[in-house]
């Protein structure tokens, strides 16, 4: 009887893992099979054409803009915030409040960020539907990611480093800058890379704040379309699954690249710091 139960459970375990892997293979396989025909140099680097057959370069540029701008703002703020929480703050009520806020931000669905961005950045601050409005919205979305990962990285820096440095007469600031930050760098970097992934994958929040203009952005105040939004719109507006899948391939390759470089960088840097 017990053996039967054991084998049933064991069977279920195998079944589950089979299902999970099958789903993965199906989704990635579907996207590649459907979209592969469209992938070409022209498709990736060509300008968008409303009559069809054009490329997705404007969307790639827009995606890069949103990544760079939101990271340029979110990274320093996130790192400094984490430094405060880990190195300066006394563990009191204030820290609790900040932690709670950070946690809550992580849990908010992106559509709510989109609503907020649409009313705050787009309308109240009069930025209009634009790259800058979308990037600022994304900044808030990735801020908790960077704070969290940086905090984790700071926790792993041995206390002896701090004590050693301070004992040599350096100030706290110098210790932070010269000793603590460099040793926490791999963790911080992986946080940044995670954020890039989040930005690349985001759609709902960008859809409501950057608009849908399918052209190379003129300035940061231009409305524009990122890759994910493009993939959504071609599915929705023209029903072109193949095109959506082709954009999907580009997205998956980017995500894969990000994941791999994250692993490589943290491995390399870990080696360097452990020497």
């Amino acid at each position: 009887m017990r053996q039967l139960k054991d084998s049933v459970l064991r069977g279920l375990l195998w079944l589950s893992v089979f299902l999970s892997v099958a789903v993965l293979v199906m989704i990635v396989g579907f996207i590649f099979i459907k979209g592969m025909n469209l992938i070409s140099f022209e498709f990736i680097f060509g300008d968008y054409s409303p009559t069809g057959g054009g490329g997705i370069w404007p969307m790639i540029v827009t995606t890069i803009y949103t990544i760079v701008i939101s990271l340029v703002i979110a990274t320093p703020i996130g790192i400094l915030a984490a430094l405060y929480l880990q190195e300066y703050a006394k563990q009191g009520r204030l820290v609790k409040v900040i932690r709670f806020a950070t946690e809550s931000l992580t849990g908010i669905p992106s559509i709510i960020y989109g609503l907020f961005g649409a009313v705050f950045f787009v309308t109240t601050l009069k930025m209009g539907m634009s790259i800058i409005a979308a990037s600022l919205t994304l900044t808030i979305i990735v801020l908790p990611v960077i704070i969290r990962t940086t905090e984790e990285a700071l926790k792993t820096v041995p206390q002896s480093y701090r004590e050693g440095s301070l004992a040599l007469g350096t100030t706290k600031l110098q210790t932070l800058y010269k000793v603590i930050l460099p040793s926490a760098m791999p963790g911080i970097l992986s946080g940044i890379i995670l954020s890039i992934g989040r930005i690349v994958g985001e759609s709902a929040a960008i859809f409501l704040t950057a608009g849908t203009v399918a052209a190379l952005p003129e300035s940061l105040f231009s409305s524009a379309r990122t890759l994910t939004v493009h993939s959504y719109l071609v599915t929705q507006e023209s029903g072109d699954i193949e095109l959506a899948a082709a954009v999907g391939i580009v997205l998956i390759v980017i995500i894969l690249g990000i994941n791999i470089s994250a692993t490589l960088i943290s491995k390399k840097l870990n080696k360097a710091t452990n020497k």
Binding site: P58, V61, Y65, M129, E218, G239
Partner: protein, 280 residues
């Protein structure tokens, strides 16, 4: 070890920056090429007018050095944007409502469009009266059998509340949003309606003429085929204007020139090629 780490980090950051700046500067130079007198015409509105406007803009900017920014956000939002001055020109695929006209909007008909009722290619029903169309969309008729087709349940596919196509369709067929059968699928675009209907033998929906292709079957209304000629001859009743609207006195010279281009022979030819119905 610190120096090694730093050097590596530095190199990494540098290469990242180099790649990024290469990308963005590339983008800049491309936009600047098409940016002669630096004027930008901001247009927003109907997702049905949008594709046509994009094609017109693409042709227009080949000759003229202005920038045209087209945001497809729906008729109502486009009209609101034109009233608030967020966009210079709003695109609408339905007639203006009274309160919208009252806020001092000017309208230009840039083309006409037909709306066609579509079904799965296997559907035997090829002709309906407007009354029957209304009965389908309000849920009075729920099976194709009642209309001379196979014994299949009807699945209604409609656009979302606020869509210009839906407003225009409902006005002509004469039913209100509240009467629309509640279980209908709501799709947020012509393309989505088309794919839904193309993949479902129960389904019926309505799309703009521009989107007609062989994946779906079109329905005649009272025996009149859905063609541009029939719309112009005013025989086919499911049609509506494609409008550009702007606030009186706030149209820039560049905007006026773009509208002139659209109404010119060349512009109207592009409209016809895109599947819309020329004004003249």
């Amino acid at each position: 070890m610190n120096i090694l780490t730093k050097v590596k980090m530095g190199l990494l950051m540098l290469s990242l920056l180099a790649v990024l700046s290469a990308c963005s500067s590339n983008g800049d130079s491309q936009t600047q090429a098409s940016d002669g007198d630096g004027s930008t015409i901001a247009i927003s509105g109907s997702t049905s007018v949008g594709p046509l406007a994009e094609k017109l803009a693409a042709k227009y900017t080949e000759q003229d050095n202005s920038n045209i920014e087209i945001n497809q956000i729906g008729s109502s939002a486009g009209i609101t944007n034109a009233i608030n001055g967020v966009s210079e020109i709003g695109m609408s695929s339905r007639d203006l409502k009274e309160e919208e006209q009252a806020s001092g909007l000017q309208e230009v008909v840039i083309a006409y469009d037909g709306i066609v009722v579509v079904t799965h290619p296997s559907n035997k029903v090829k002709n309906l009266s407007l009354e029957q169309v209304k009965q389908i969309f309000t849920g009075e008729v729920t099976n194709w059998k009642e209309l001379g087709g196979d014994d299949l349940e009807i699945v209604v596919v409609s656009r979302e509340d606020g869509s210009g196509s839906r407003d225009a369709f409902q006005e002509i067929v004469e039913y209100s949003s509240g009467e629309l059968v509640k279980s209908s699928i709501i799709a947020s675009g012509n393309g989505n309606i088309k794919t839904t209907v193309a993949n479902n033998k129960h389904a019926v929906g309505f799309i703009s003429f521009e989107y007609i292709d062989e994946t779906i079957s079109t329905i005649d209304i009272d025996g009149v085929k859905a063609t541009a000629e029939n719309v112009l001859a005013q025989k086919y009743r499911l049609s509506r204007p494609f409008l550009f609207v702007y606030k009186e006195g706030e149209l820039t010279e560049a905007g006026q020139k773009f509208i002139d281009f659209i109404l010119s022979e060349d512009g109207q030819l592009i409209a016809a090629e895109a599947g819309a119905i020329p004004v003249k």
